[in-house]
């Protein structure tokens, strides 16, 4: 039962990461990100139930509150101010190619995480490739998308992946560390949100490629 729930949560993490890459509408991307946050919280919850640790339960609740509620809310608010540009219209790599790239990234994640898994094979560590795949897909989103908001989601995807790997590998890195990381992420999102608003006020767009040209 424990292994199945863990696997299901990992499957949901992977699926939502792929859907972020696949879909163009920013609202759908944000919803997928919220779902991924919930899946991550479930993952931590399953580990907490297995370890029977109150601290992990608290972390699970915190992860849910931050990644499935607060961050999506902030992203949605940033989007509401964006006006007409609701779609990722022309990513640097087209969607079919990026989906195939994600397939390659999955295999890469599987290959590089084998030594890690072999250190202590268990149901949790065997799922580490999933976390690394999410990190790689997040990085891919970060470098190939043009809208500031989808790049932000890519950054958060990476962070979700890193958190997932952390929990799967060590069953929690301690409440204090987790709290610090979470606050860091929250702060980054708040700062970037302000930055996108300023960008739009100055340039009328959040296409980051426009920033390469010098203007008066």
């Amino acid at each position: 039962m424990y292994v199945q729930l863990l696997d299901l949560a990992c499957g949901a993490l992977l699926l939502t990461a792929v859907l972020v890459l696949w879909r163009r509408e920013l609202t759908v991307i944000i919803r997928m990100f919220a779902l991924q946050g919930a899946a991550l919280a479930v993952l931590v919850g399953v580990l907490a139930a297995q370890e029977n640790s109150a601290e992990l339960w608290a972390v699970a609740v915190g992860v849910f509150a931050l990644r499935a509620v607060v961050l999506p809310y902030l992203l949605r608010r940033a989007l509401a101010g964006a006006g007409e540009s609701r779609r990722e219209t022309r990513p640097l790599v087209n969607v079919s190619a990026s989906l195939l790239a994600a397939a390659v990234l999955t295999l890469l994640a599987y290959a590089v995480s084998q030594p890690l898994v072999e250190l202590a094979p268990s149901a949790a560590t065997q799922a580490i490739p999933v976390g690394i795949t999410v990190v790689l897909i997040g990085f891919f989103v970060l470098v190939t998308r043009r809208r500031a908001l989808s790049q932000l989601v890519g950054f958060l995807l990476m962070d979700n992946g890193i958190t997932a790997v952390g929990f799967l590998a060590t069953t929690g890195v301690g409440l204090v560390v987790e709290l610090g990381v979470s606050l860091d992420v929250l702060l980054a999102v708040l700062v970037l949100q302000v930055l996108t608003t300023r960008m739009r006020e100055t340039f009328g767009d959040t296409d980051l490629d426009e920033l390469r040209e010098l203007r008066d």
């Binding site: 696997d7 990992c10 499957g11 992977l14 599987y110």
Partner: protein
Amino acid sequence: MSALGVIGGVVQPVLIVAGSPLLVGLMRQVRARLEGRAGAGVGQPWRDLRKLLRKERIAPRGTSEVFRFAPLVLVATTLVVAVVVPFVATESALDPVADLFAVVALLALGAVALALAGLDTGTAFGGMGASREMTILALVEPTLLVAIFALSVRVGSTNLGAIVSSTLHDPARVISPVSLLAAVALIVVIVAETGRIPVDNPSTHLELTMVHEAMVLEHAGPDLALVELASAMRLSVFLGLLANLFVPWGIATEATPLALLIGVLALVVKVGVLGGLLAAGEVFVAKLRLFRVPELLAGSFLLALLAVAASFFLA
């Protein structure tokens, strides 16, 4: 060759041939009702087939044997698949053919025969339809293979009967990420392969959008009846395969009349429900632009590949 396999091999093709036009009728009826129309009734496809079969056989001038044999090849390959794939009974009459690769190859052979017939007519529509169909087919086949392969990894065999019986013995496998990812990939692929919305619209004859219909535009009379029957059979075969790979319960494992009856009923109910859901889903989505179709299929290929990867990661 077991008794169960032989009985299954007789019952399944009869059921598929008789039932598939009814499935198409059911799906049209569901759509009609949801769109606020009365609908032509579930039996309408059979009435259409009867009308077409009574007509005279006409072939366009300049066409060769390829054009004449294509409907027969299409029906024959689909019939073989209907005989061997575990729909009603877990054992197969021709066990070596009930293999993942053999079944996918047989289904592809029928589609290729039809595309060649489309090219053989030499008309613009036939060629365009064939070229589009081949584009979609080339993207669909790898996904189909990989998605079912993900399920066969755990069983250690690509025999469809073995995959179905192992799921029957271990129901917990159905809710694993491997099954879920493979199921989503397979659904997308089946929608594309059987030419339903959002990839193709089976009820349109608009030249910009049609894929399958453009290819069979030159067929008439009994030939057209065979093509329509074969398309309906392919739809039932794919839905039956989907149902039995992921929800195999009810399938007959022993050769008693009661078990076989339950097997038949279970298949009819499962395929009927899947067809109804597919038709209801079609009401809510618009057809995709042809140039967006590769994107959809690349996504489903990725999901299928993830399913295979997950069957190794999360073992």
